[in-house]
Symmetry: D2
Subunit: 393 residues, 4 copies
């Protein structure tokens, strides 16, 4: 097995998830397509980078991403920084001939995403956008059923991503609540995961029609860059500043296939934690998935006898996608980490087999086009067409 | 206790539900506001009327609704016929000075509904539209929480009504699939129940933006008028005719309050039986209800301690609305019948106490205005405002 | 259709359920096997009897059960009084040549039950014991699967009946907490329903091994005989008296077939309302039922493909047992009342068709033998054999 | 942070879980109590050991456990071999002065476990038995509620561990189905986890009363030692041999506190995958946990207002035990791996802080005493007292 040296840019919560994946992917998938080596981790704050190296098991650390991107021993650049930094790093990495995996959303908008896509295509490197929830085995099983025709022609799709970690007005104004660093709010942060599900499972989206809301117009300013998500509440004395992104959006969808759909995402849904769901109705069956119970896929087949028909709760395990590499009994159960382990597996495999992984920057770009259309629709109050772009060659 | 003589027009599945309610309401709510007397049941087919009288315990039967509407001993006209007949009967009943309860949707559209509203207002009778699902105790409990401020200012609403009884293309073309008799499809038949929930729980809807689809364009023609819903499948040899109403619609909502929402209804959702649900997020909590598990209301309060916070599954029973009249232990459980028993209780009470019951023809009219707006929006592909009308005096 | 005149002894909560069934059974099952006529209701307190007649729609009332039992026009005696009165009334009714339906548990113990069984057998009348939960359509569906061999040879059974209506020490000392009136506590009141499930679904029980506990040793004395179940809490000033029956028991089971099992019943399970459940594992599949979600049966078939296997949630409706008489769409949903309506249907049918209904006094007697064995086992701390008795000819 | 060198004996499925924990514990809990170093992995088959080293990231490998146990650089011996080898290795490790963590069940029976306990106590090393399910954050939260008195005095406990991976008669006869290698069947393999829950949450068990069954009396002989659990089915031509351990047991429990309980474990429950559950009723509340939905704890508090009372579904996350080290949003979700990561964290912490971790060999011994009592009870058909032993000093 070949070693593949990884340079990771950024070392917050997401860095932990990626480091876990690099360390343990071969434990799960063996023989592994390649052995990912945690070569260097970079952070603008060199002290933080040093600590990240110790914590996440990287051999080296660096105080600037530039030196990592250009290091001759590095094969892969892994971008886990806030959204506004993705483009510059990814383009530089591509120019340096590195394969790139980038956290989602790919960019601050479609224009930037297109530049990134052009860069990686020109460089001929492998590229992936980290819509890790597509890797949940239950979702891969849903895709398998669909591809096998088991639920028939798809009529509709309904996806949600509901959270409550920022429902409290005292949750601080991190980079996730500012347009200049995040691009958008719930839309980019969580809504794009649902857009990715819709494209993955149903196909291309032709038109959208949306509403968007900012429920909490100002929040206490966070000092220090670390993203604590909802685990910290600011005191009343902390000065506040404006939120300029969406807390929630709802959109209708028209798919190119004729199917219809809706997506909703909000970070103000008390009691919903990581309520990433979809329901799909087809001519021959239905599917329901809820990430909060991620080991399970619900499926109903129309041709079951009338008195034996109903949603089946199928637990993923050895018999379902990626089962050969995961735990040997269904419901031993996977967590967030395993979605990243599978993502890493697919990425490494694509590199070694010289294929383009999915979802890649084309998918990231397409998702940005849809996200831009959603924002435009919410602003204009009308249906907005998603620009057609040719599929990556 | 006063006797109130009821004349029921129509004797299908819905007649059974109403007859059950008349027979048993005083058993549940005692002392009863009044004793409903099953006086006469009418059907255009006199034989059917005779049989309905025997089955449903009516003292008399009639071969035409006109004689019932004008019978001097009758106090209440109960309309459980297909949608296209509601207006004529209700208006005649009002003119004859009878109180009227009418199945939903009230009419074939807002124009007709307005005529009905005008007639009952002019006559000064009591009038009710049978959105019985509002009577589910768990839904009444949700309303109570909202009114008490327990979930705070409402941010959003999403409702669904998913069924599969006509998902099979061999389900016959009953009156429910024809515009002339039903007015609309899933929209009027089931979607209006969700519209009623939205208005009841959140308030008036200002604008809608919808898509609608007819998934099965033709169905085998049903012979005989009885509505079997999904229990019968036609053989392949039965000739087919066109469906001219919607099988499914999805709509976005803007409420007058600033809240947003969505509603989806379909009769093509395999595995969903009577999946009438809502989820509401407020500034202080969330609510979730699914009629398929109708004894339960899910509620999350934001001010619970962090390590004790989550959706509570509250079973309705003696401690919740209408509990004094229902079963003495939560989860002995109510069925469809109890929603009708409560409806009858509220209607009889309003008659005796000389108040106007809720929801009444004003609500039925308002719902028709919204339904019309949904259809118009789906056709035009744009936001459509719901006409403002003044609340019933 | 023949009229069958019913004389009902007792008029509390259970009287309401039975009256509902008599009034509405023909509305559900049409043509009905017979039309039950609510002829006379009796209560020792004649004022209560008078009110019960008005409320429950009986034509007559009586201040003593004796006059009802001996009334020439009465065909059926329905016993809905506290447990300690069952035997005397039932035996007198049998002697008077009346068919008898008796609430569960049949008697204060096996000895008394045997006398009742002997009486009805000698009289040649129809007899039924009201284990209505056996009538839940989902339970009847489980029985159907088992009889068709769909889950294979049964290995085990696990049943629970958990409630909390008397978990509060201030819940009053009604007749249900006293040996002289109830015979036993949770065992007779709710545990016998689970014993009935075990016998119905798996077969005869050969041996039991139990523990029993009285968690709340004294309760405030209730004044007045009405059974309010858990809806009333006594104030601290009400004097208390001793509880001499079990609040909870757990028992192991050995079935005659070789299967094993366990049953647990308690009225001290906070948050469980009417948590009557069973889980059955067979060589070819598994079943799970929870009455709190009574429209649903969970079933897993071992021969489903590995990636499509899991518990199916089957909603009962037109396609499942008794579906022809119930609501036309699954999940319109049944409540407690429908279990009694079906019970009445089966009883009337047996009378008209001159067969013995199930479960009858033989089953009630057998259940008492098992209940006695459970109490004996809990006292002695050892396995106790259930006496073998020959099946009713 | 100090490095702690680990020598792991065995390299199957469980080795993967432990290796994952060593590699990633500091990523989760930072600063880590110590950095576990994957020093050496041993297997009797040196080729397998070599492969395990490569796959699991160990620096060295060895063809015998003896050389690892006696290697001067090794601090901790981690035993992940079949049950019958635990004692010899653990005792040798203790004699060599190594800290020991051993998979469950600790031994083939209480006698052997006592020797192991004596050895580690004599050596003065740290020792832990790997009942990892105790580490599930939701279970730790249940313990916290109990310790804080939030559910009051505990009345009862019922636990289950239901699986189906060996329900198929063609599942091979691995070491798990033979007394000489496994000690017992479902009892030791999965039942002991439930025993551990019972002791952890409720307290010591005084007496047991059990039944046990071997449902599948012979299975196809497995060639090769690797434990594939249920992922492989043998063909019909493979010769069979006898199973001499239990497939299922049910036991009643009497706790020293006066609480009662039951435990059931089976590997023949179609549709149950890793259905490790408990339900606890206390005087002030109830708890329910199901590992298949391991991010959730269900809790009901008796003092909630009557119309707001019901089971709450609390998702574990930052606000619940171990939350500081896990994922920053509840329901990002943990899998099997995280239970092992937390276990490693607690073990390393105990070593560094010089305290004895929980559960340790004393707990493992106590659990063996209970398991022996369960087997004895099932054989004799009577209540069997669990020997009292003094708590570890």
């Amino acid at each position: 097995m070949k070693n593949i040296n990884v340079g990771m840019i950024g070392g917050g919560f997401m860095g932990k998830a990626h480091a876990l994946a690099y360390a343990s992917m071969p434990m799960f998938f063996w023989p592994a397509p390649a052995i990912p080596v945690r070569h260097t981790v970079a952070d603008v704050n060199e002290e933080l980078a040093k600590e990240a190296a110790a914590r996440f098991g990287f051999e080296h650390y660096a105080g600037s991403w530039e030196e990592v991107v250009n290091h001759p021993d590095i094969d892969v650049i892994d971008i886990v920084t806030p959204n506004h930094t993705h483009a510059e790093i990814a383009i530089a990495a591509a120019k340096a001939g590195k394969h790139v995996i980038c956290e989602k959303p790919l960019a601050l908008g479609a224009k930037q995403a297109k530049m990134m896509l052009d860069a990686v295509e020109k460089a001929g490197v492998k590229h992936m956008v980290a819509f890790n929830y597509r890797r949940t085995p239950a979702v891969a099983l849903a895709k398998k059923y669909i591809d096998e025709g088991k639920i028939g022609k798809i009529l509709n799709f309904r996806g949600t991503y509901l959270q409550d970690w920022s429902a409290d007005p005292q949750s601080p104004l991190s980079w996730r609540f500012q347009k200049k660093t995040a691009g958008s709010g719930a839309l980019g942060d969580i809504g794009t995961h649902v857009v990715d599900y819709a494209r993955y499972l149903v196909g291309e989206i032709a038109e959208v029609n949306a509403v968007a809301k900012t429920w909490i117009s100002e929040r206490p300013v966070q000092t220090g860059g670390t993203d604590k998500l909802g685990t910290v509440k600011a005191s009343d004395s902390v000065p506040k500043a404006a939120v300029d992104v969406d807390d929630e959006f709802m959109t209708l969808l028209k798919f190119e296939s004729g199917a219809i759909g809706s997506i909703e995402a909000t970070r103000n849904a008390w009691g919903r934690n990581n309520f990433l769901t979809f329901e799909i109705h087809g001519e021959k069956g239905s599917l329901y998935f809820n990430y909060e119970r991620r080991d399970e896929l619900q499926v109903c087949f129309s041709d079951d006898p009338a008195d034996e028909k109903g949603f089946r709760t199928v637990y993923t395990g050895p018999a379902t996608p990626y089962g050969e590499g995961l735990w040997p009994i269904p419901a031993l159960g996977i967590g967030y980490g395993e979605t990243k382990i599978i993502e890493t597996y697919d990425f490494m495999k694509a590199i070694v087999e010289d294929t383009q992984p999915l979802p890649n920057f084309y998918d990231g770009y397409k998702t940005e086009l849809i996200a831009d259309a959603i924002l435009a629709s919410a602003e204009k109050g009308e249906w907005v067409k998603v620009p057609e772009v040719s599929v990556l060659a």
